[in-house]
Symmetry: C2
Subunit: 403 residues, 2 copies
């Protein structure tokens, strides 16, 4: 497996585009994205577990119930959520795209992201679709930027891998960056592959993958109403279709996980206002569940996040977050260390503090990517969670988001 360029257009038969259609006032910010597969593709999605769901989620669920799709349309600037006519508008987006693109409206995945509770006007979208379709190209960039909200960097990755002697490609784009605390689903992520995978196996691969990828990311503890990850597999790589578990399926899952994990790190590192990517690695847990609970509790702690912003080795906050996580742990066994490219420093052994160089700790914590290593010394399970620091800019961005 190796990283390649191309994003969602790396896989054979996929093109993409993005335009400014006018949902956003700022004309330099694209707000409508399209991903298209020249061949109908197996489709799988996971969605937010928030009871308040964006209208596009209902429409997408319905459209891919048969396991197939051919295009993705996604706008930013408005979440089309908590609007009385939301479903109608989301369906209209599919219809308008269908007419212009010549695909069945039922083969369209539709998504929206932005402010909740403001009616979404169909006019700019209707006006933008012709240019959107005409703009389809082998570059992922316009689509990747068009789905961004408060993201500061475009999130895009792709890999090539081999199944049964055939070279396959898989790639994805994502948007973060606030209201990020996925639960059984995630923020907006679109993944394309030319591997041939049956809809059932594609869904199985995705549902399993998100448990250790997107569900382990938190920026602010708020689970969005519009979270969605969709994968399209159009089979144009020519491998024998994967229809059951086995070596081919495992190979595909590994490639999928390379894409999703990469995007997770990008989403966490570009969390709203973030200056640092935080990675919490828990080992020695008595069960997978304990490892997951502990790592997410630490990565979600406002106090820990603020300490990391200040490069303050305040490990007591790590212990505190483990203690209230709800996991059944022996607090007298816990070891904690901080690590970055500048080195590693042990700060807590057996649940009590040890002497360490504050100077060295500062040096380690001043880096852009920080690992907090927690060994529970009670078993063999582990888990990794991703998050970011809590900064002035998070407050600034969210103090007046709607204007």
């Amino acid at each position: 497996m190796k990283q390649i360029s191309g994003g969602v257009c790396a896989a054979k038969g996929f093109t993409a585009s993005g335009v400014h259609c006018g949902i956003r006032k700022n004309k330099t910010k694209k707000d409508l994205a399209l991903i298209y597969s020249e061949k109908k593709a197996a489709a799988a999605s996971v969605y937010t577990t928030n009871l308040v769901k964006g209208a596009p989620i209902t429409v997408t669920k319905n459209n891919i119930a048969d396991g197939y799709a051919q295009a993705v349309i996604c706008n930013s600037g408005n979440a089309n959520t908590c609007n009385a006519n939301g479903i109608e508008i989301a369906e209209k987006m599919c219809d308008l795209l269908s007419e212009k693109l010549g695909v069945d409206a039922k083969d369209v995945i539709v998504a929206s992201t932005g402010v909740i509770g403001q009616p979404l006007d169909i006019t700019p979208i209707a006006n933008g679709i012709p240019a959107l379709v005409e703009g389809l190209s082998a570059s992922s960039d316009d689509a990747a930027t068009a789905i961004m909200t408060t993201d500061t960097v475009e999130k895009c990755v792709s890999y090539s891998f081999e199944i049964g002697g055939k070279e396959c490609r898989i790639g994805g784009i994502a948007k973060g960056s606030g209201m990020i605390h996925p639960n059984m689903a995630t923020m907006l992520v679109f993944v394309t592959t030319d591997a041939a995978v049956s809809p059932a196996m594609l869904q199985k691969a995705l549902s399993e993958d998100v448990k250790s990828s997107f569900n382990m990311v938190s920026v602010d503890g708020d689970t969005s109403t519009n979270d969605m990850v969709s994968v399209l597999a159009n089979g144009m790589a020519g491998n024998e279709e994967i229809t059951c578990e086995g070596a081919d399926f495992d190979e595909f899952c590994k490639a999928l996980n390379a894409v999703t994990t990469h995007l997770c790190r990008m989403i966490a590192g570009d969390g709203e206002g973030a200056t640092k990517l935080l990675e919490c690695i828990v080992t020695g847990a008595a069960s997978k569940e304990t490892a997951v609970t502990v790592s997410k509790s630490v990565i979600c702690s406002s106090l820990f996040k603020a300490a990391m912003f200040g490069a303050d080795a305040n490990w007591g906050r790590v212990l505190c977050a483990i203690g209230y996580s709800g996991a059944d742990v022996d607090v007298t066994k816990i070891d904690v260390a901080f690590k970055s490219v500048a080195g590693e420093i042990v700060v807590c052994v057996d649940g009590s503090g040890v002497e360490f160089s504050e100077e060295k700790a500062k040096e380690i914590l001043t880096e852009k990517e920080i690992q907090v290593l927690i060994n529970l010394k009670s078993g063999d399970s582990d888990a990794t969670a991703w998050g970011c620091d809590l900064t002035y800019d998070y407050v600034k961005i969210n103090g007046d988001y709607r204007t």
Copy 2:
């Protein structure tokens, strides 16, 4: 029942003091507090549910196992938590106070608050106890300021009430202000009363009270390792001792709740970096549990808190937080309004947005105390939760807390 002055010294027979003993480097900040009852008092406490517990909690639990106590000693600047010799130090604090004050060491409630995981030196405490005992007076102020950490205002309240024709008094002091997300227990709160209440009924009253008072407060979602509320009732008001449920017990619970609710609002309003007190009032819930879950989810949302800091009527974040709360609600029935002394404005009806004046909303949300009113229109249960906005100063305070 009427509000009176005096704090923890309002009730007959209680005196208090506070000194700077040297745990903190800043000599102008008191760091050691004492509350003393001239008569042994019935004692009740609730404690943090964090598995990582401060050593003083273990010692206090043990000391009041017989239902009685006579003094409270509390230091700030160091939590005496995650230290190998923590229990020994906490017991030493009781012993030293016992010698000087002439009370049984087993009748001392001990508490600590501050940084986790730094050894607590007994020397400054030993040196400070003589002045602490000599300083006992009818003023609550020195004790109230000595337990403060990042608090900006002293938290103190007292009421008089009547039981069986006898005038009784009850008062309390509290410290907030970060790591505040009590769960079955709370931050540090000490309440004194001269009402005569048996230890069992005192514990019953307190355990019931915290469900609707301190457990409904959140500043940052972090449940402290050192949360504790203690009540001392010395019986010097001369009422017939309350030993069972009935009118007298109800009267006492009402007075207790007046004190605790007042302190809750003070703690939330003085949350770290806070500029506003947020009160989330949920009505029309199908069950008490639903009302509690929904109100706490909203008050804990970082996005909602940041929007309130910016006086931005971003009600979509309220709906979002209700949706991911885990409560079983019909999202198509939810009404939301914002209220303050500047007026009230309805922003969402039946789960969808309604038109409203942004100007009026801004005016309402610019006030210091904001209510978000949520009607689930599905039953008769209600709940109130208290929190504060998320501000630049929260990040600043917690980015470098230890230095």
